[in-house]
Symmetry: C2
Subunit: 221 residues, 2 copies
DNA sequence: AGACTAACCTAACACTGTAAGGTCGTCCAG
DNA sequence: CTGGACGACCTTACAGTGTTAGGTTAGTCT
């Protein structure tokens, strides 16, 4: 075969096929040859559409990052906006857990990420946070989201639970993991996010005293 | 050469050489052949000491994890213990940033991690937290630490800063990154950790009312 | 002394990402 | 309508990967 009448491949098709393979078989098990095979094609043909494997993975990463919602920073109060951002961010990562290691270790300078960072920083400063603090808050929430995705219980924890119950008595209560690991992950994420926001709210009064939240806190204290 | 008079290799030597190579050249650039070359030996010889590459990397991960300090859970109050744990954990990861992607994606069932989890869980329950909540708090702090290591600003962010200043006005203040990226990472980590602990403290009264912290909060409220 | 094991070696396998260059279909300029 | 450029596939091949098999010899144990 040489050039086919109608193209067999395009970026979207390659992207979706690859993501499906990653989701089902894991990141490490996916090679250019296997992607090509799944598409009924030979590996070098993929290079007509992507310069190399990293560019393909980056592109997949971009499509995942598109589902992150930062619109709240234009409309809602800063706490709600952070919540919306964090939850949609976590949901996007949790949808493709096998991509998380790649997303986490690739530098954070994908195009959408900068738009998002700008929206977040703008929203927080408009809400009264000093620019430097806005940067720190943005990084903090990112830590929480990425940490919850990377250090997930669900991402393989204990294989033979029974042996541990004797050796680690304090953990016995925490077990029956694996079945409810996803639940623990979800609850931990909510706990750390909400506790962080509450702790942050206490600090808000000092920075932006002319707001609802600050007033509430001042009256209460 | 066959078997040498005195062994050229041992696990510690291999481990430290490999870690040094990872620290200086990055995880991806380190292969069994390069490790062997650095040791004046051929790659297959390494398999006399480690079953495979993952076992070697796991061993390195264990030595890094040994520097995590969970002794506070036996002596200090729960907040101080969490702080000590989180900071020493972060410091251990920050010492070898190139190992973080591997540590993060490898399952959390290394031997030391279970001892640590047991100590943490035990300390929190003794302090009055319900077992389930203790699990969630442990996971939360882990998220913060791992997230701060993985999503680090210092781990390569912006390459050409100048172009961004025009396109992303809200970020302009956040810049001069790269040079003070490590500083932002450190401050963000402290912010998220301390805010989380403060938010958590508010919740403490409801669970364990007979403690100093709860009393303080009750009197204040 | 003889057997066994340990620690190195060489050679080789299957696999990886990717470069070079061939073939032919499509499209556009003259 | 034709010629050339380009695009999308192909085969072939290269360097590098983790790892296995099997050889050789030094040290250790009976």
């Amino acid at each position: 075969m040489a050039r086919p009448r109608t193209p067999l491949l395009n970026r979207e098709l390659i992207r979706e096929t690859t993501l499906r393979l990653i989701d089902t078989h894991g990141l490490a098990a996916v090679s250019m040859r296997k992607i090509a095979a799944e598409l009924g094609v030979r590996a070098p043909s993929l290079y007509s559409h992507y310069a190399n494997k990293d560019e393909l993975l980056d592109d997949i990463g971009d499509t995942i990052a598109e589902r992150v919602d930062v619109t709240g920073f234009g409309t809602d109060d800063w706490q709600s906006a952070l919540r919306t951002w964090a939850r949609s961010y976590r949901a996007a990562l949790a949808e493709h857990p096998n991509m998380v290691p790649f997303l986490a270790s690739s530098p954070g300078n994908r195009p959408g990420a900068l738009d998002a960072a700008d929206a977040i920083h703008g929203g927080l400063t408009r809400a009264g946070w000093p620019p430097r603090t806005a940067t720190l808050i943005g990084a903090s929430v990112k830590y929480i989201v990425v940490g919850s995705a990377v250090a997930s219980f669900a991402g393989g924890f204990l294989d033979d639970l029974d042996t541990y119950n004797e050796r680690y008595p304090h953990l016995s209560q925490a077990h029956r993991l694996r079945e409810n690991a996803a639940e623990i992950d979800a609850e931990s994420f909510e706990l750390v996010l909400e506790s962080f926001l509450r702790g942050l709210d206490l600090q808000y009064a000092a920075h932006a005293p002319d707001t609802e939240s600050a007033k509430r806190r001042t009256e209460a204290g």
